[in-house]
């Protein structure tokens, strides 16, 4: 009967495998109008003229919108982005015009008829170029933009955000260092490539309600920000999100919602639907952040790291949106899972003429981990020390402090050493690390470890409601978006466990509708089971209290003497005195027809304790609740002639705190590992010198396919987080984080050359081996 720790199948799977699960774009209504985009073929250009006359005359067209449709600037951290480009485009794919027509085909035909005259401008093609004094400035009005708390920009430059994290005394750190290494890494932006492309519809009802349906991870943030951007009281905005076909962070940015809203406004409030094509999803909508980073480590001869100096140059794209916050998350955890006393990090998020980034699974952590872990490997080489041993010697332990100067405890820090020990054994690390298989074939292993805190608003909150049915079963309503992680099933397990009932009798509501669903801050940061879990448990406790209260009347007993289990409330000392939950959860009716009570509705909420924002000048603060950890390894087999390689095995040991749903956790970690291996080995946008994207299609942007996966070995250790429901630690992103670093470590070992650039294409490796840049 126990629900926790059991592999309960995802409740949505039945609908999904039968093909009946509905996603945002699936609903077809004859009265809906359709929008299509005209996007910029240039990465940076002045819009000299837009001629939409032919498009306006095209059959079925209701409206054509260009930049002058709205002067509102949007963006979460910095309000720097027009909904539709005004006067200037800053990335290839930026929305220049929107056509609304009766059918999608008519809208597309008309969008093709819009003639735009561009005057190309010099481009900024990577974050290093962006920082050169001679670089074109992308946002001259940076000083005037509205900014979020803690965002420090440098007007007159391309620096959208600068953050410094300082700890200890660098002079002392360097003085105590006998060996110093410096390592630089870089990688370009890539795509989230969720199976469902992004889509949104908007409608402005005659009574003034704005109804938005969107494939988002953040329906409540859509409500909040749309209200703010367009001066609407939040109560008038209703956001609905059904199933989302994969988010990976890419569906945290607000973009198409604002376009659909303006489009609806232009046609008298009629419902307008906008669905990204795959190419638009890759070009126009947000991407994964790129990075160029330098890590300098100082260590004693026996491998104790005394000082770390880190510089991040994040490719913040053409508009800031969340990129500076992704960067902030990286800066806050910049040391990786190591106790480093003296630390200095400078974290820059700079504007470039690339598509703007959104969150990406790991939120800055696979990025910081790649930078740090490659430097650790370099230090191990320099010290001639086993890289596993070096990591073990420096692993953070309770009593150490994080870069934010938070004190680490056994609860807020996962157990890195146990993870490292397990990965050493599972990877058979001590047997061999590189070996020749035959004339042209080498096998090699790499390891890396990681930590990750969750970045969240300090007042991020989650609520849950439990409504009883007349059969004694319950409906669980939370604001978590079901993005494929199975979170709602895990929440149902928690409720079933607490109510001591079968998880089959806990029904969950999948669609989030901000009109009647309690707020869940955002379905991000691997926080669903924690925040919504605590809220659901409180709602269950609330329901139990109410059930006992009415049962006490019926059974003529003190509520404190009652227990709830197996769909009954009974007297603890005499279980024969009992009443079925179904007889009291809708109130109780006496034999003579008199009735008392009513439908039981349990409610609960949870807000994380004692959070405060990061000070951008010092890095002090508590921007996240706990550091969850793991250690990972990758084994590859390489043809040393052309450096092509095969993924043989990938291992992840994660501190799960408590595994709530073993198969679910295995799926999450394995999926994340595949994603990490995929982006590290093959995913990146290629830019021309003019900043345009050469591969905005899945023909040329390749992903790891089913048959290319290595053998996955996933193991969990359970060192509980005391604040978390049942001790469970965050799990959704963590399988990804050290995969790129572990792969780079293995490929470097196989090729005999230190590789620091992603993706690790065989040609990239071959070039590095033949004297080029790795």
């Amino acid at each position: 009967m126990e629900a926790i720790g059991r592999s309960v199948p995802k409740k949505e799977s039945f609908d999904k495998v039968a093909g009946s699960a509905m996603y945002t774009a699936d609903r077809i209504e004859p009265r809906t109008l359709h929008a299509r985009l005209t996007i910029s073929p240039f990465a940076h250009a002045r819009i000299a003229a837009v001629d939409a006359s032919e498009a306006r005359r095209s059959p079925g067209v209701r409206a054509v919108l260009t930049g002058d449709a709205s002067d509102v600037l949007i963006g979460e951290e910095i309000r720097d982005r027009p909904v539709i480009a005004r006067d200037r485009v800053r990335y290839n794919g930026e929305i220049v015009a929107v056509v609304v027509a009766d059918t999608e085909a008519e809208a597309m035909r008309a969008a093709n008829l819009i003639r735009v005259r561009y005057e190309p401008l010099p481009v900024v093609n990577d974050p290093v170029e962006a920082l050169r004094p001679s670089a074109p400035i992308l946002h001259e009005k940076l000083a005037e933009y509205q900014k979020g708390e803690g965002v420090v920009s440098i007007p007159g430059t391309n620096v959208a955000s600068i953050i410094r994290v300082l700890k200890g005394d660098m002079d002392r750190g360097w003085a105590e260092s006998e060996t110093i290494v410096e390592n630089r890494v870089s990688f370009a932006p890539s795509d989230h490539a969720a199976m469902e492309t992004r889509s949104a519809s908007a409608e402005i009802r005659p009574d003034g309600h704005v109804i938005i349906e969107t494939s988002t991870q953040v329906p409540f943030a859509v409500k909040k920000f749309m209200a703010r951007y367009f001066g609407i009281d939040p109560g008038w905005i209703v956001v609905r999100t059904p199933f989302v076909g994969g988010g990976y962070g890419g569906k945290t940015a607000i973009q198409l919602e604002a376009v659909a809203y303006l489009a609806s406004r232009a046609v008298g409030g009629r419902k307008v639907k906008l669905v990204n094509t795959r190419e638009e999803d890759m070009l126009t909508s947000p991407v994964r952040i790129g990075l160029d980073a330098t890590v300098r480590l100082g260590s004693t001869r026996d491998g104790k790291i005394r000082a770390a100096q880190i510089v991040y140059r994040f490719d913040g794209g053409a508009y800031n949106d969340k990129s500076s916050d992704v960067a902030r998350a990286a800066a806050a955890d910049c040391s990786g899972p190591y106790g480093i006393e003296h630390l200095h990090c400078e974290c820059l998020t700079v504007y470039t003429n690339h598509t703007f980034p959104a969150a990406f699974r790991g939120y800055g952590h696979s990025e910081l981990t790649f930078a740090m872990e490659r430097a650790i490997d370099a230090l191990a080489d320099e010290l001639k020390m086993d890289p596993w041993e070096l990591r073990m010697r420096n692993a953070a332990v309770p009593g150490d402090t994080a870069p934010t100067r938070d004190r680490l405890t056994p609860s807020n820090l996962g157990d890195i050493r146990t993870c490292l020990n397990r990965v050493r054994s599972l990877a058979e690390w001590d047997d061999w690390q590189v070996r020749q298989v035959n004339e042209h074939t080498v096998r090699a292993k790499g390891i890396a470890c990681f930590w990750k805190n969750s970045s969240m608003d300090t007042d991020a909150t989650s609520g849950a409601i439990l409504l009883f049915n007349s059969d004694g079963s319950v409906n669980l309503v939370t604001g978590v978006v079901e993005i494929g992680t199975g979170t709602k099933t895990v929440l149902a397990q928690m409720v079933a466990e607490r109510l001591r009932m079968s998880v089959d009798r806990v029904h969950v509501k999948f669609t989030v509708d901000t009109l009647d669903t309690p707020e869940h801050w955002k379905t991000v940061a691997s926080r669903g089971t924690f925040l919504a879990g605590r809220a659901a448990l409180k709602a269950a406790d609330d329901a139990i209290r109410q059930l006992k209260s009415i049962a006490a009347v019926v059974l003529r007993a003190d509520p404190d003497d009652l227990e709830l289990a197996h769909d009954k409330v009974f007297v603890r000392a005499d279980p024969a005195v009992q009443i079925a939950v179904k007889d009291i959860c809708y109130g109780y009716k006496y034999p003579n027809g008199n009735a008392i009570g009513g439908q039981i509705v349990g409610r609960g909420y949870y807000t994380q304790r004692r959070m405060n924002p990061l000070n951008p000048a010092t890095g002090e603060g508590t921007p996240g609740p706990e550091w969850n950890v793991g250690a990972q390894a990758v084994e590859i087999e390489m043809d040393t002639r052309d450096c092509s390689y095969r993924l043989v095995k990938a291992i992840s040991v994660n501190d799960a705190g408590k595994v709530l749903n073993p198969k679910g956790a295995l799926g999450q970690v394995t999926g994340a590992m595949a994603m990490g291996l995929s982006y590290a080995s093959r995913e990146a946008f290629y830019y021309t010198d003019n900043g345009t994207v050469l591969n905005p299609t899945l023909r040329d942007f390749t992903l790891l396919r089913f048959g290319e996966n290595p053998e996955y070995v996933v193991e969990f250790i359970e060192n509980p987080c005391l604040d978390a429901p049942f001790g469970a630690r965050a799990m959704g992103e963590h399988g990804l984080i050290a995969m790129p670093a572990a792969l780079a470590s293995a490929v470097s070992r196989a090729a005999g050359v230190r590789l620091n650039r992603l993706p690790l294409f065989p040609e990239t490796v071959w070039r590095a081996k033949n004297g080029g840049i790795g």
Binding site: D642, D700, L704, R705, P759
Partner: protein, 278 residues
Amino acid sequence: MIPFDFDYYRPATVQEAVSLYARLDREGKRPLYWSGGTEIATFARWNRIYTEAVIDLKAVPECRALTVGDREMTFGSALSLSEIHDSGAFPLLGETGGGIADRTSRNKITLGGNVCSRMIYKEAVLPLLLADSDVLVAGASGVRRVPIGRLFDRSMRIGRGEFLVQFVMDAGYRTMPYASVKKRKASAIEYPIVTVAALATGSGIRFAFSGLCDFPFRSAEMERILNRRELPAGERIRQAAARLPAPVIGDIKASAEYRKWVWTITTEDVLKALEPQA
């Protein structure tokens, strides 16, 4: 979403297909022969193809033929790559076609469609070149039979309104030792950096390549050099490389330098596999 409307025709005979084309062409419908349709559908989405009428050849029985006789074997142009692969009729053709796109796409992509593709790879043509296939081409004046060597030069040189009906080749080729190796940038499903197809006949090893230059080819001159067994393999490949029909391409899949290197080692592997060891 294809933003334009087009008519769909499904003729039952070769003659009907040819006359339909002539009529629709006269009417200015810019007709296209449709086989698997994958390229038309995807290019139309990007506004890279336009038509007002398509003529589906899959109901023409000759285009769907698959026979292996004592002397000849015949492959209809509208057979899907999956059908050819699964039939096992000509393993070199089946495997080379089986390296194109993914299985779901190959269930649609046809032999005729692939060799007439607008893309530069057209890998299914490599085995046809190696087996000296004849091509049956339908046109206004009936069906003509042409050796592929006279028809394929960088692309299929067929006239307006003509279409490929069948490929007919000597059945003896199906049992000869062969190799078909596709090297990609990183993924198992992707366009080639280079595809090397080779067939070991009694008179030497034949080679055809895709991905190396911006068209697939078989070169008699390179073949002669690669078969000069008195020279070490590496030297033969070096000399053959000097006789390439066009520059090696460099693009986002691979630089010219790396592409040439991958071609070199792949050709070396193929030689090693197919050449009787001394």
